[in-house]
Subunit: 217 residues, 2 copies
């Protein structure tokens, strides 16, 4: 039929959900959140504007799916960055930091969406799950990458949180292009991440007294 979309030879698409998420992610990267539209995503997938409603309850559900895959992708990117580092604890921790910040720098609009209040994890359990999993994996990874001597006094969750906050802060500044000009011009993103983590790691090393000791660990 002439009215069937360009990329299809059959009335049914076959994998429309996948195609819509990909279209939306493309729109997000190219034009920001504002550019993500159910109609535009449908158009990009070569399908009528009502078709997405077979797969997503509303626009926010589509955004939630995009954000969900963002968390999975970030998780994978950080893991692979760590896998490429040597066994030295400090280097592995730096690899986490670089992987994290680089992901954000390479996918600014996606990173922003992932942390924005809409779509809300509360309303979209799979998104919530992906975010929680990524957070837990990151914290576990950070803890793993500390050397054995440091780990005897295992830092409580709120010290790990400080590390996470630092990474998020660096990533956000990079993503939002808020770095002072002199820094932005001379220091590559990866170096900022490494520097930050070095400073903080020194802090953790000397902050055992702040940690609540975990008996028996």
């Amino acid at each position: 039929m002439a009215s069937v979309g360009l990329g299809r030879s059959t009335y049914h698409h076959g994998n429309l959900r996948r195609a819509l998420v990909d279209s939306a992610a493309g729109l997000l990267a190219a034009r920001g959140v504002h550019g993500v539209t159910l109609r535009a995503a449908a158009r990009a997938a070569g399908v009528s504007q009502a078709a997405p409603y077979r797969h997503f309850a509303d626009k926010e559900a589509l955004l939630a799916a995009v954000a969900e895959e963002g968390f999975q992708a970030m998780n994978a990117a950080i893991r692979s960055a760590v896998a490429g580092a040597d066994g030295d604890a400090a280097h592995r921790l730096e690899a986490v930091a670089v992987g994290y910040v680089r992901f954000a720098a390479e996918h600014p609009a996606l990173y922003r969406l992932m942390w924005s209040p809409t779509p809300s994890g509360r309303a979209h359990p799979p998104l919530r799950a992906a975010a929680d999993a990524a957070g837990a994996a990151l914290l576990a990874l950070i803890d793993e990458t500390r050397d054995a001597g440091q780990r005897t006094a295992q830092p409580p969750v709120d010290l790990l949180f400080v590390l996470w906050a630092l990474l998020h802060g660096v990533a956000s500044l990079v993503v939002d292009e808020q770095l002072p000009r002199d820094i932005q011009a001379t220091v590559p993103v990866e170096m900022l991440a490494v520097r930050a983590i070095q400073v903080l790691n020194e802090g953790l090393r000397h902050s055992r007294s702040l940690a609540v000791p975990q008996p028996g660990s």
Copy 2:
């Protein structure tokens, strides 16, 4: 005249620009960026929907004015928090952190707007200026609050940047409600800020080797 807005007895408003910025800030706090609309701001100011164009070129210009005042307010809040701290360097630094994070927690939508790519500082010089001034003031404040012994090896701008990134990270996590539930339930925002700054300050203290010494300072 019956057609004149409720709050006015004269055809001219008198201080419409001020009123529009206030309305917009109110809408922002109450409904998020999405709720900020030229028409809604005009309505709230008791004025026709075309009136704002006498004072703002377009919608983004109104948002820029709101963000600009946000930077000024945050700057003032942090200064007053520091002014209330005693002379001890560590306590003063903690006061900066608490002031920063508390401002963000109290004005989440505003804080988000201030760092978002729209309105862009590039397109709105006064916004750019306010952001730069706030950044510079913050960095200066952070540097001031370190004690003399530490300051002999003055940390270069990229170490100050680490501190700033940490504050921004904590603030962002709080603002976006992304804290793990167990932390959010048990640790007040201010305590997170203090803890973060303590850890980092230890790190700075032991990271002189990272700093490029400033000859003659």
